[in-house]
């Protein structure tokens, strides 16, 4: 059972950061996951008064505050315009509206959970995260860091001409995913680049980058070969929700479907 001795609603980021340096301090997101643990927290730090609950759009980026809820992401017009329905698809299966009104983007990303749909989606988009102390770094780098005492401020999504797809397989519709796959493609340094992110393997999402020039009229077999190759480069494990072998198969199927869908749109 989680126990908390003090609750502090931080008045400034400085205060939040300072408080968080104590070993037994924790920053709270939506309290969805932390509450289920057995931690003995001396001070829980609430960031909800610091204006981190906004999605800001500029010419080049969409900056999502760490305290934005999953529901805000789901309903964000800017993200929908840029990357289609895939962004909403990546969160709309998560438990229910009440849950998504509460769970935060920061909590989901910071936790680096294996089951995280949000992490899987943003990882494929080659996203950046802004940290209070650590500056702005790639999410792909952040995801492999050990949790530390820094504070996640925002997730920064570049606006660029990329195509985004998100699909997952679940036992019940609102369960954790058995597998979650995201595929993104676009031009990077003048080259057609494909990003694949696979989460709930059941290990946390990992990113694969491929400079593949795939013609829009690629045959089904050719796409299947690419998908097979992409899926084979991830590691998979077994838990209650599925075996490693089945997950690998699902990843291959979903990646192929996502690639085919992207290529079909390009035609």
């Amino acid at each position: 059972m989680l126990t908390i001795s003090n609750y502090v609603k931080a008045k400034t980021l400085e205060e939040a950061y300072e408080l968080n340096q104590a070993r037994s301090s924790r920053v709270m997101g939506g309290m969805m996951w932390m509450r289920l643990g057995n931690a003995r927290v001396k001070t829980v730090i609430d960031l909800s008064g610091l204006g981190l609950d906004q999605i800001e759009e500029s010419d080049n980026v969409i900056r999502i505050g760490a305290m934005c809820t999953l529901r805000q992401i789901e309903e964000c017009e800017a993200l929908r315009e840029m990357y289609g329905d895939g962004i909403a698809e990546s969160v709309r299966h998560i438990v229910g509206v009440q849950f998504r009104n509460q769970a935060t983007v920061g909590g989901s990303i910071y936790g680096r959970f294996g089951f995280s749909d949000v992490l899987t989606a943003f990882l494929a988009l080659d996203t950046f995260v802004e940290l209070y102390d650590g500056g702005t770094i790639r999410l792909s780098e952040f995801v492999n860091r050990k949790p530390d005492k820094d504070i996640l401020l925002s997730v920064i999504v570049r606006k660029s001409k990329r195509k985004f797809r998100y699909e997952s397989i679940r036992q019940t519709k609102t369960d954790f995913p058995v597998i979650a796959c995201s595929v993104v493609t676009g031009m990077v340094h003048g080259k057609e680049t494909w990003y694949f992110s696979v989460g709930a393997r059941p290990m946390k999402a990992a990113l694969l980058e491929k400079q593949w020039e795939i013609p829009a009229d690629a045959s089904e077999d050719m796409i299947a070969d690419y998908a097979r190759q992409a899926a084979s480069e991830f590691a998979y494990g077994t838990n209650m929700r599925g075996s490693a072998e089945y997950r690998r198969h699902l990843a291959e199927v979903l990646i192929r479907r996502e690639m085919a869908s992207i290529l079909a749109e390009g035609k």
Partner: protein, 164 residues
């Protein structure tokens, strides 16, 4: 610590530890409609509104609602009675234990979505589990309620709910 917030349109003060969840504070303040079904944010029984949005009170630290507006079923009794009559008209309250959280989210849905279709309704309410009804009766109740509302708004005679 002492927390102050608006509960069902009234300013209230409550005593809570740093790790007390809103659910317990609300029940302590007499809002017995608020039920705990799972403790893991999966069932929706503890749904209340914070600043008008559906939230799971089992996972909200009471301390964090300081200065906010909280609404429970007790605060929307008239609407609950109105919609509840349609629910009862289908026999779809059954054991009733999930009804308060369900009705809170239904009323939130009516505020947020205009004339939702079946798929939208199902998706909006997916976080409200019910083990008795199989959900179909709840859907019928929502559809009939919406129809009655629409007829009332267009000046046609509405169905008298729950009068059977």
């Amino acid at each position: 610590m002492e927390i102050q917030f608006v509960l069902n349109q009234k300013q209230v003060t409550a005593e809570a530890a740093a790790d007390t969840v809103l659910l317990d504070v609300l029940r302590g303040l007499g809002c017995k409609s608020v039920k705990c079904g799972c403790e893991t944010t999966n069932c929706g029984l503890c749904t209340v509104w914070i600043d008008g949005k559906s939230r799971l009170s089992c996972s909200v630290l009471a301390a964090s609602v300081e200065g906010h507006e909280v609404t429970t079923l007790e605060g929307v009794e008239k609407e609950a009675t109105e919609f509840g009559a349609f629910l009862a008209g289908e026999g779809a309250e059954q054991c009733g234990f999930c009804s308060p959280g369900f009705i809170m989210n239904v009323l939130a849905m009516f505020r947020e979505l205009e004339d939702p279709g079946i798929d939208q309704i199902k998706e909006y309410l997916a976080g409200n589990l019910c083990r008795c009804t199989g959900y179909m009766g709840q859907l019928r109740a929502i559809q009939k309620y919406m129809q009655a509302k629409a007829e009332k708004n267009s000046g046609q005679p509405g169905e008298e709910a729950g009068a059977r």
